[in-house]
């Protein structure tokens, strides 16, 4: 009996070592340890032996069982590791092949710039207002202190729809529309398409502006400077130099144009800034008392500032876009660059 047990151990360990894969190993395990397996048979045989031999035999059989179990476990681990490494070899990927990307769309560069501008003013507490593209002359000109025959109308080559109705030449008419709707305080920014009869390499008959209006008690020119400098530093970077210089707009008094140090040459002078080192980016000023009169606002109690900037020009500067025409050509090879 003892020899039998020892023989089984040797035989079993050989068989386990010979099992070539997990399936063969499982068959071996069943053959050895299963209900009808060899060890079970031996254990059953022990009960036929004299009682005084049984403890020794039982001990030996259990030791063999433990050894077989351990050997199977070890073999299984080895086989599993082998299988794993074979699978890994089979599933090797070429890291250098391009990945599978979800489709990517591109927001129009103008709207990306709009978003960025509006977000900055949103943080300052301004809300967005909008107005119609097709506008009355009253809102576009008259109520903005630009009566018929005002020379300032010359600089706005206007598209006419019918007498008294135009395509707005700037976003400023929304100032009046907003002021008519509500009493101060007012803090709005106005994005929008605007139109002028002007089409060449540097002009598009449709272009984009952002207008701003703040009316409250005690709004000052210093506040205007501060707000716009904050905007410029956020948008163009802290090291951008800013210059407010006197200008004329019919609907603001005092008025200013704002230049920033050239984004291309950093103020050294280049073709983009016409060697001046400065780029004009917006117009602004304190709301004209006559405009307040149209809005029925009390100029003694309230003051306000307004500003307007060309979004197309700002987008072109930021992205070094050479011609405004690209913006509205809708060439995907252009649009997908942004």
């Amino acid at each position: 009996m003892k020899e039998q047990i020892e023989a089984l151990r040797r035989e079993a360990l050989d068989a386990i070592a010979a099992a070539g894969d997990l399936k063969a190993l499982e068959e071996t395990r069943v053959r050895l340890l299963g209900r009808k397996g060899r060890l079970t048979e031996i254990l059953r045989g022990i009960s036929q032996t004299p009682p005084e031999d049984r403890p020794v035999l039982g001990q030996a059989a259990n030791a063999v069982k433990a050894d077989i179990t351990a050997a199977i476990e070890a073999r299984r681990n080895a086989l599993e590791a082998q299988a794993e490494s074979e699978r890994a070899r089979a599933e090797w990927v070429d890291l250098s092949l391009p990945g599978r990307r979800p489709p990517r769309g591109h927001m129009h560069v103008i709207n990306q710039v709009y978003d960025e501008i509006l977000d900055i003013f949103h943080e300052l507490g301004f809300q967005v207002a909008t107005g119609p593209d097709v506008e009355t002359e009253y809102y576009n000109f008259d109520s903005l202190n630009t009566p018929p025959d005002h020379p300032a109308r010359d600089s706005h080559d206007t598209f006419f729809v019918k007498p008294g109705v135009v395509l707005r030449t700037h976003t400023s008419p929304v100032q009046m529309r907003v002021m008519e709707k509500t009493a101060p305080p007012v803090a709005v920014v106005v994005p929008g398409r605007v139109y002028r009869v002007d089409y060449d390499a540097s002009h598009s008959p449709m272009f984009n502006q952002v207008e701003g209006l703040l009316v409250d008690e005690g709004v000052t020119f210093a506040d205007l400077k501060g707000s716009l400098m904050l905007f410029i530093h956020r948008f163009f970077g802290r090291d951008t130099r800013v210059r407010f210089r006197p200008h004329f707009f019919p609907f603001t008094e005092p008025s200013a144009e704002v230049d920033i140090s050239c984004t291309v040459c950093k103020g050294q002078g280049c073709r983009v800034c016409k060697h001046s080192g400065w780029l004009e980016i917006l117009g602004c000023g304190m709301v004209h008392p006559n405009v307040f009169a149209y809005a029925k606002y009390d100029y003694e109690k309230y003051t306000g500032y307004a500003f307007g900037m060309g979004v197309d020009r700002i987008a072109m500067l930021r992205h070094a876009i050479s011609s405004i025409g690209h913006l509205f050509e809708n060439d995907l090879r252009f649009l997908e660059q942004f």
Binding site: N111, V128, D133, V134, F159, F221, N330, D331
Partner: protein, 798 residues
């Protein structure tokens, strides 16, 4: 306006160099368009005197000159000009000199004889167009002097942009006055030295103003013995520096005085004026006249004219008439200096399509005091340069004297508006320097009277701007306002639009932005329904193709597809989010509403090595529509509708709650052809007006089911034309409360399904809140669904 720095310095001392001056002007509000140094490239050109002129032995057209340039030996120079004589003084470029364009003078042999320099024509020095002969200088020009200084080639020309409110800046004196105020230094206005002789002007002529509204002041002078001829060199040089061309002394003087004073003058031939007198009046109906440019102008009664006793002789403030033009044979001149109403001039100028120097000046408003100075200055120059005798006295009709308003300035208000702390005396001083009269000054305020050249100043805010300007915008502090928001919401849909735009980009569409112009032809080419022909029309469009505002996004999207396909782009998945316009019957302004358009062309994916490309199809387009409507918490309902633009069978109206909100489909071959497109295009357009106005639905929480669903499949064969959507709807209805979800997971035609039929495979999810369902539990519901499909669609279970 071109400002010569050398000339400007005659009126005001400028304590800084040209670059700093340009900066100062800019910060005063005079924008510098360009800075030009015409003689910057010129060096080593001196004043020479021709000592001898000998023929060249080997060239007929050349001469050999000896020219003294103040050095030990005269220079031997070969020259091709013929207009000079011995003794003439000419600008002479020596060996080593450079001329405009980088042209360098070297020692060279011409037909065997050496030449040591070049005597210059005006053109060679950049002083005009004349290159016929040498530039002969005045006899008293010092020999050997640097020609740059003598000829003003060291000048700097500042090209300034004059804002429409500051007509006074469009003159040398105006700019000088501003700088004098800025530098706090006197402005030197040339002194007048007139010798009046002979018969009084009032005896020789008269001025009658019939319309004082349009002409508040008219001043005339009569000059006699005028000798027309060329102007002296200094005057020519100044005109050239200002960008003008010298003509003759009389014309040049009026132009010169205009440049100097900003006040336009006109000279009539006195003897050609009927009865030698002036009547300022509106044109009579049917009147016409020939203007100086030789054009006959039809006049209307709202146009102001300067007439003689019989007929118009000038369109007031715009252009003189040919009949009374000063020319050969003129000896007596009637000189005009007037003030006209800016609006009247502007209207006339526009109506005639005639924009002149004069009309541009008058449109900005004229200074009635400068009118007097200007006519006297011109008379004086004509006396000095054209031998004129000046008849004593001005003919001055001044029916509407200029009233300058008295404006109260509150010093605290100035500081409150600017955010500054400028003391009262400083404020008043600034205004005084600018020529304002100050009275009644207290600690709090003063009364200010604007000078006659400042019609733009009419209220306190204007005074405050002057203070800010001269104080310096750069010195105004920088503060941040406390922004208080209005309670009103002005653009309630803006953030929704921004989110939708973001969503469409995120699902892989690229955004297009088209001009909002269109045309009827575009609508017709796209075969849109006739309602789209009701368009907002422009009176002055850029072109036929941009004659209207767009009524639909579709023509633009088709043009974009064509453009990109023609430029080698293979795949296009793009959208536009923007307004369309429709005239409204009872409203001046049209309806403007936002729409979204989507265009899909080419393969569904970007090319990838792992899979073959599949083209976009109808269901890609429908998927986008579903995504958009899902954003607005709405479901897509497509209504089959054969629209002309789309291919029949792939053409639908998008309905939301039964209302048509848009269209989608595969573009028909005819429309593709009209837009020159050769690939299939899928197009969708959706009106967002009502969708944007829908209040946002906030999803309400629902507990997750406690028991797993029982999933069963059902495959039925039906006729090919049976819409699966209807099948699903019927099944969902028949399924009862246990049926939680129903999906179509396969639609199959072909073997072994009979021709004309299709196999539709549905997956049904049954679920109960109370227990885990078994197939047996769901059998009744399953049977009901099948029965319904059998009955309604002749479905056969597979």
């Amino acid at each position: 306006m071109r400002i010569s720095l050398n000339w400007l310095k005659e009126y005001v001392d400028i304590p800084v160099d040209a670059d700093t001056l340009a900066e100062h002007l800019t910060m005063l509000g005079l924008e510098i368009e360009a800075m030009d140094r015409p003689g910057a490239e010129i060096s080593e050109v001196y004043i020479g005197q021709i000592l001898s002129i000998e023929p060249h032995p080997d060239a007929d057209k050349l001469v050999v000159c000896r020219t003294d340039i103040g050095r030990e030996d005269p220079l031997q120079i070969i020259c091709g000009a013929t207009n000079m004589k011995v003794g003439d003084k000419v600008p002479t470029a020596v060996v080593g000199a450079t001329l405009p364009g980088g042209f360098a003078i070297t020692r060279r042999k011409m037909r065997g004889i050496e030449s040591f320099g070049m005597m210059c024509s005006p053109k060679e020095l950049g002083l005009g167009e004349d290159h016929q002969g040498l530039m002969i200088l005045e006899p008293d020009t010092p020999v050997g002097a640097d020609a740059r200084t003598i000829l003003g080639l060291d000048d700097v020309i500042l090209d300034i942009e004059v804002t429409p409110n500051r007509g006074d800046w469009a003159s040398m004196i105006g700019v000088a006055r501003e700088l004098a105020a800025f530098y706090n230094t006197p402005c030197r206005i040339p002194e007048l030295r007139l010798r009046e002789t002979g018969e009084a002007a009032t005896a020789l002529s008269s001025v009658t103003i019939e319309d004082p509204e349009k002409c508040p002041r008219y001043i005339g002078r009569v000059l006699d013995g005028v000798r027309l001829g060329p102007s002296p060199a200094w005057l020519c040089r100044r005109l050239i520096a200002a960008g003008q061309r010298p003509i003759n002394n009389v014309v040049d003087i009026t132009n010169y005085v205009l440049l100097e004073t900003g006040h336009p003058l006109h000279a009539f031939d006195y003897d050609k004026l009927a009865e030698n007198r002036i009547v300022v009046r509106c044109a009579r109906p049917g009147e016409s006249m020939a203007t100086l440019d030789g054009t006959v102008r039809q006049l209307t009664p709202d146009m102001l004219v300067i007439a003689d006793a019989k007929a118009p002789q000038a369109v007031a403030g715009v252009m003189g008439g040919a009949d009374s033009e000063v020319g050969e044979g003129t000896s007596r001149i009637f000189l005009e200096s007037a003030c006209f109403h800016p609006v009247s001039i502007r209207r006339t100028s526009r109506a005639l399509g005639l924009v002149t120097e004069a009309s541009q000046h008058f449109q900005r408003g004229a200074d009635p005091e400068m009118a007097v100075y200007a006519i006297d200055r011109a008379a004086m120059l004509m006396q000095e340069l054209a031998g004129a005798r000046i008849a004593p006295g001005l003919l001055d009709a001044y029916p509407r004297p200029c009233m300058t308003p008295v404006i109260r300035l509150r010093h605290a208000r100035a500081n409150a508006l600017l955010g500054t702390d400028i003391d009262a005396e400083t404020q008043r001083n600034i205004l005084r320097r600018l020529g304002f009269g100050i009275g009644n000054d207290t600690d709090e305020s003063c009364d200010c009277t604007a000078p006659t050249w400042r019609p733009d100043v009419s209220q306190e805010a204007d005074l405050i701007e002057e203070i800010a300007r001269l104080h310096g915008y750069e010195k105004i502090p920088v503060t941040l306002p406390q922004v208080r928001q209005s309670e009103m919401v002005f653009a309630p849909h803006e953030s929704k639009l921004r989110k939708l735009r973001r969503l469409l980009v995120d699902i892989g569409l690229t955004e297009l932005v088209n001009w909002t112009f269109s045309s009827r032809d575009n609508v017709l080419r796209a075969k849109l329904s006739p309602e789209y022909l009701d368009m907002v029309t422009l009176q002055n469009p850029l072109s036929e193709n941009h004659a209207t505002m767009r009524s639909s996004l579709i023509p633009g999207l088709l043009a974009n597809a064509a453009f990109n396909l023609n430029h080698g782009v293979e795949r296009m998945a793009a959208f536009e989010l923007g307004p369309v316009y429709k005239p409204l019957k009872n409203n001046n302004l049209p309806d403007e509403r936002m729409r979204v358009g989507v265009v899909l062309v080419g393969p569904r994916q970007e090319p990838h090595w792992s899979e073959s490309l599949q083209p976009f199809d109808f269901y890609d387009l429908k998927g986008v529509a579903e995504t958009i409507l899902d954003f607005f918490d709405e479901a897509v309902n497509l209504c089959e509708n054969d629209l002309d633009i789309f291919q029949p069978g792939q053409s639908a109206e998008i309905q939301v709650n039964g209302a048509p909100f848009g269209v989608l489909g595969k573009v028909s071959v005819a429309v593709l052809k009209a837009f020159d497109i050769e690939k299939p295009v899928y197009l969708l357009e959706l009106d967002l007006k009502h969708l944007l106005e829908k209040p946002k639905i906030h999803p309400q929480f629902e507990a997750m089911p406690a028991f797993p669903p029982c999933l069963r499949d059902m495959a039925v064969v039906v006729d090919r034309e049976v819409p699966v959507g209807k099948l699903l709807a019927a099944a969902a209805q028949a399924g009862g409360t246990l049926l939680k979800k129903i999906n179509v997971f396969d639609v199959y035609t072909g073997e072994p399904i009979p021709i004309g039929k299709k196999n539709v495979a549905l997956s049904l999810a049954f679920q109960s809140p109370d227990k885990t369902l078994t197939d047996a539990d769901t059998q009744k519901s399953w049977d009901r669904i099948l029965k319904r499909l059998e009955k309604e669609f002749n479905a056969v279970l597979r």
